[in-house]
């Protein structure tokens, strides 16, 4: 059963944890419990870093918050039993805080990875300072002491079992999530966040949700920590502890659910025991860490585990796209006096064009005319510094890429932009889920098998894709990658499709096939398409209107024959006019 496949690593862990106290002693089990606790927090770090590709350098902030909150509530509950009901807050409140932080930071830019890391670092240091100074609340340097046991457990004897259960649950949940659509989405964020945004995924929210979940893990671990230690000091919220989480996640394996736990136990526990006996032990650990970074990016778990098992579900029909897709008015796009610039260079200088109704139009012009840049402004990749962009009567100027995508615009990039380490099937799946899958759907296995009529047609047009469904997209040849990206652009069934040189790098035969496919598929979904092309034969084969851009402005518009006859166009192409 699928569940048991997911739970393999967790089952192994459970067996080992059950055997431990009998194989050694209760006190050793108590000590190992501490590293299980740390390991759960490290699993949170690995989730963000290994799956989503951003590194939280200050995760101890949430660990410490969970510890102080839980410890404080346990102490208070001795005189006020109502507080027992509030205990879950110790994990939930830090998670909410994490969500807010991540939303604020990621909303600014999708390229804020390293800055996010440094912000989390600075925040944890602020937390450390606050914990030290606010002695009335936290006990300051001396810490919050005399924390009682969790009712029903005893610190040195039975608390171990509670911790073991928590570790097993955390491992199962993480392993399961990795095999669900949400796991695919997370990895897509790490591999090509921009492409995901162009499909309409609100990646800043996805990252924030994942970060909040990882903070929940850390805070829950912190809560167990306070009961385990009986005392919480500012060190539980420190930079040093945060970096230990990162190290354990790295050495154990950041892409694995079980890895960070093993990293914490093996490296952490061994260090605690051997540090006093071997003078150079910690030097060896540091050297090991360097070796892992240089040679073993996926840690020890990466060594042990072969390729991840392919994720797929049984074929099932996908629900329709919700939102924009079902309007009856013809699609219309209007650019009016659009201006944009970058690094002081003006790129678009008052570009105005309009189209309405389905059908393919081509955009041509000399290099630097602003063709790709016009697409970039429409999809929010370049700032709109003047003028307006209207889609179906709504102003979309300046919206972030994913919002624009959700309004029904699909974009294919100049250099084929796919998710290189995901399989072709998973790439297509992401496009199918765009605009269709709700949050709950991303947690279900069945979503992996969603199938649409269009998907079937695409696979017929491009048999090469159908035969390589389980290969990583990065191994595809250029032509097949173009086809894959075209497929991904069309699968959400947008009403306006922006295609940027779909035939670039293709042989004449492939170009022919691509042109036919575009005409068929775009016609099938009844969309309007703008196609940037350099190849005049391709433009000819498309039929439809042609827009000529030059120096950031619309130079001319009309059928291909008109354009070819136009004197102004000729002059520009022949270099006769500046």
């Amino acid at each position: 059963m699928a569940f048991f496949r997911d739970a393999k690593s967790a089952a192994f862990l459970a067996a080992a944890l059950v055997a431990l106290p009998f194989a050694s002693s209760e006190f050793v089990a108590y000590q190992i419990a501490l590293f299980l606790i740390y390991g759960i927090a490290a699993q949170g770090v690995a989730l963000c870093w290994g799956r989503l590709g951003f590194l939280p350098l200050g995760h101890a902030l949430f660990f410490g918050l969970g510890a102080y909150l839980f410890g404080g509530m346990l102490k208070g509950a001795e005189s006020n039993p109502a507080l027992y009901l509030a205990l879950p807050l110790a994990a939930v409140a830090p998670a909410l805080l994490a969500y807010v932080i991540a939303r604020l930071v990621f909303a600014r830019s999708s390229r804020s990875g390293p800055y996010f890391s440094l912000i989390t670092l600075a925040l944890t240091m602020l937390g450390f300072l606050a914990a030290q100074q606010w002695s009335s609340l936290t006990g300051g340097f001396n810490g919050l002491a005399n924390i009682p046991d969790i009712p029903g457990t005893s610190r040195y004897e039975t608390l171990y079992w509670l911790v073991a259960v928590a570790a097993v649950i955390s491992t199962i949940v993480l392993a399961m999530l990795a095999t669900r659509p949400i796991g695919v989405i997370w990895e897509a964020v790490a591999q090509n966040e921009e492409r995901l945004q162009l499909l309409g995924y609100a990646t800043d929210r996805i990252k924030a949700n994942a970060y909040a979940f990882s903070a929940l893990l850390a805070a829950a671990a912190g809560a167990l920590f306070s009961a385990h230690q009986g005392i919480v000091t500012p060190q539980a919220m420190s930079f040093i502890l945060s970096t230990e989480f990162v190290i354990w996640a790295a050495v154990g394996g950041k892409k694995s659910a079980l890895g960070p736990l093993l990293g914490a136990i093996v490296v952490g526990y061994a260090s605690a025991e051997l540090r006093d006996q071997f003078l150079y032990w910690e030097v060896a650990v540091a050297a090991l860490f360097i070796a892992v970074v240089l040679f073993l990016p996926n840690g020890v778990a990466g060594l042990l585990k072969r390729r991840a098992e392919p994720r797929y579900g049984q074929d099932s029909p996908a629900p329709p796209v919700h939102g924009v897709g079902t309007s009856t008015t013809p699609v219309s796009l209007i650019l009016e006096g659009v201006e944009t610039a970058q690094s002081g260079v003006t790129i678009l200088d008052g570009l105005s064009l309009a189209l309405s109704g389905p059908g393919i139009r081509c955009v041509i012009g000399p290099n630097g005319a602003g063709k790709t840049s016009s697409f970039n402004v429409i999809t929010g990749r370049l700032p709109l510094l003047g003028g307006g962009v209207t889609l179906n009567g709504h102003d979309i100027g300046g919206l972030p890429a994913w919002r624009v995508a959700r309004k029904g615009i699909g974009r294919k990039m100049q250099v084929p932009s796919v998710f290189p380490d995901l399989t072709v099937r998973e790439n297509l799946g992401l496009a199918v889920w765009a605009g269709r899958a709700s949050g709950a759907d991303t947690l279900k296995r069945v979503t992996l098998g969603w199938h649409t009529q269009l998907l079937g047609d695409i696979l017929e047009e491009f048999p090469a894709l159908a035969s390589q469904l389980d290969s990583p997209a990065g191994t595809l040849a250029q032509g097949h990658r173009q086809a894959l990206e075209l497929a991904m652009t069309l699968l959400p069934e947008p009403r306006l499709v922006l295609l940027d040189e779909p035939c670039a790098g293709l042989s004449p035969g492939e170009t022919h096939q691509m042109i036919d496919a575009i005409k068929t598929l775009v016609g099938q979904i009844g969309a309007a398409a703008l196609l940037i092309e350099h190849d005049i034969t391709a433009v000819e084969a498309m039929g439809g209107d042609v827009y000529v851009l030059h120096q950031g402005r619309l130079l001319d518009k009309g059928s291909l024959a008109d354009i070819q006859a136009s004197a102004t166009v000729r002059a520009v192409y022949a270099g006769g006019r500046k």
């Binding site: 590194l55 600014r108 890391s117 930079f239 650990v285 360097i290």
Partner: protein, 285 residues
């Protein structure tokens, strides 16, 4: 308290800024010019300070620590650049982690060799001299003057010399610089080594004035990072601006509300800049 003792506060402020500038300089070169997030920067400062400890243990004068620090940091810098940094140039997170691991390695090595206790380095110049009508430790005055001289010299070199021009070209447009025949690989390697040597030298200079123990690197690293984040990477002017803002706000807040508040203000400023203006005030990268 902000009382009438302006010369004392002024000198203290100058001392803080000088210290910050000297310890940031190495990272400004490595991170600002080369884009390498060297998390072991503070450990090179620490190694410089321990060079002074070692030299004193051997009974040699403090000045002997200077060549020792240069040799140790230079060699280490060369090895690190060649085998740790260069393979990871295109992977910034991995560079961050690898240099963090290096920092741990250096810290633990020093712990194993020298022990974890706090050390002190003596210098005859810590006696007070009378200046502006008050008594002030002579060594600090020397440090302030040295910092000004070094910064001025560096600025002139960067702006006026041929080598400085090559470095500026490489920073602005590495591909074009390479096309023009500038050996960017070797220049980058040299810049890294120079950066960590500067860090080590600042450690030697500071040794008589600070407490020395294996863990002091982290504070210097973080201060330097925050200075560069606020001031902006890639320009000397940015570094000065960052030093002024970070050092100044920390000093002012500390004298009003205590050192912890001073540091908290630095952290909050850095968070704001990282969030809203990650390129800092004067960036050119």
């Amino acid at each position: 308290m902000l009382d009438g003792n302006i010369p004392l506060h002024g000198l203290n402020l100058a001392y803080e800024l000088a210290t910050l500038a000297l310890t940031t300089l190495g990272l400004a070169i490595v991170f600002g010019l080369l884009g390498v997030m060297n998390m072991a920067h503070g450990e090179f400062v620490m190694l410089g300070a321990y060079s002074a400890v070692a030299v004193q243990k051997l009974g040699l004068p403090l000045l002997a620590a200077v060549p020792l620090a240069v040799v140790v940091c230079g060699l280490l810098g060369y090895v690190v650049e060649r085998w740790l940094i260069r393979p990871l140039y295109s992977r910034p997170f991995d560079t961050l982690l690898a240099t963090w691991a290096l920092a741990m390695l250096l810290r633990k090595l020093v712990e194993a060799v020298f022990g974890r206790e706090y050390r002190n380095v003596e210098s005859t110049l810590t006696d007070p001299v009378t200046v502006f009508g008050l008594q002030y430790p002579a060594y600090r005055l020397v440090l302030i003057v040295l910092a000004v001289v070094v910064m001025a010299g560096l600025y002139l070199w960067y702006r006026r010399s041929a080598a400085g021009l090559r470095v500026r070209a490489m920073t602005a447009n590495p591909v074009l610089a390479q096309a023009l025949g500038i050996n960017t690989g070797r220049l980058a390697s040299q810049a890294f080594v120079i950066g960590v040597v500067f860090a080590g030298l600042s450690g030697v200079l500071l040794a008589p004035l600070i407490r020395i123990e294996p863990g002091i690197g982290v504070d210097y690293l973080l201060d330097a990072f925050f200075v560069l984040v606020v001031g902006g990477l890639g320009t000397l002017g940015g570094m000065f601006g960052g030093v002024g803002i970070i050092g100044g706000s920390q000093a002012i807040t500390s004298s009003i509300a205590g050192q912890t508040s001073g540091y908290a203000v630095v952290l909050m400023l850095s968070i704001l800049f990282l969030w809203l203006k990650p390129n800092g005030l004067f960036s050119r990268r």
